[in-house]
Amino acid sequence: MSVLGSVFSLLSAGLFVAMDAVDVAFTEAAVGAGVSLVFFLAALALTEHEETPVTRGNVFPLLVAVLTGVLLIYGLLEAPPFGSADAPAHLHVAPEYLSKTEAQIGVPNIVSAVLASYRGFDTLGEAGVIFTAGIGVLLLLNGGLPKGKGRE
């Protein structure tokens, strides 16, 4: 199951390359296919992998999922067609980044320029999220201490 998830991440990384997002594909392949596989395998090793058969019917979850999907499609009916250059998403700040990166930042990779400079505070917040998650995992798993030390 976790290995299938890893394969899924790798396939989606391929899709990202096809849609010109090479940096995202690197990250997805490393994080989604690599690190999260390790996490899932570790969690499964620490717990159990047997699932009791689902007793309640599958009709209700299916119904909820299909209904939500229909609502989402309804919401997307007015979205711009795939790949169009004049979609609203491409008209606001992206042209500025594309035209000014060379003069203002001077690195060829625009994604790095935006990530580290134009939107550096976002990246600082991201580092904060990783830090918080690391502390949370350490606290939840008791820092690897043996049972009975600081735990009821």
């Binding site: 995202v24 990250t27 989604g32 999260s36 067609p81 795939f82 060829p108 976002d122 995992v137």
Partner: protein, 128 residues
């Protein structure tokens, strides 16, 4: 609402199908770790939505080569880079919560956990 409209927006339909598959897994599975896998599928569908919005047909990856080129939008790429890292952080927290739940209750099965919770409630009502 003709056929061309549906073909021109195929990225959105793919994203909705993927997202609802993840949602269905979250709702229907009993095992908590399988639910987390479903959440991961859900998250990847959101990434695909953003990246497909950023794609411009005929564009290339946003790396300056000195030649005048048409680039895809770099902004969604940046946002999704951040989102992937946040996603792995939340997955790590969710998995460690699952490990902790398994330690405390000896099961990761949703039905089993609900049964244990009801038993605890009944005990506390009786002891009062």
């Amino acid at each position: 609402m003709d056929k061309n409209f549906f073909l021109a927006n195929y990225n959105y339909w793919a994203v909705v199908v993927l997202m609802m598959s993840g949602f269905y897994v979250v709702l229907s599975r009993n095992h908590l770790i399988k639910k987390i896998v479903g959440l991961n599928v859900f998250q990847v569908s959101v990434f695909l939505l953003y990246i497909s919005v950023g794609k411009i047909i005929g564009g290339t990856a946003p790396i300056l080569t000195g030649k005048p080129e048409l680039f895809s939008n770099p902004l969604p790429h940046v946002l999704i880079l951040t989102a992937i890292v946040v996603a792995i952080s939340t997955t790590a927290i969710a998995l460690s919560l699952a490990v902790r739940i398994h330690e405390a209750f000896g099961t990761l099965d949703e039905a089993g956990l609900i049964a244990i919770e009801h038993a605890i409630e009944r005990e506390s009502v009786q002891s009062q």
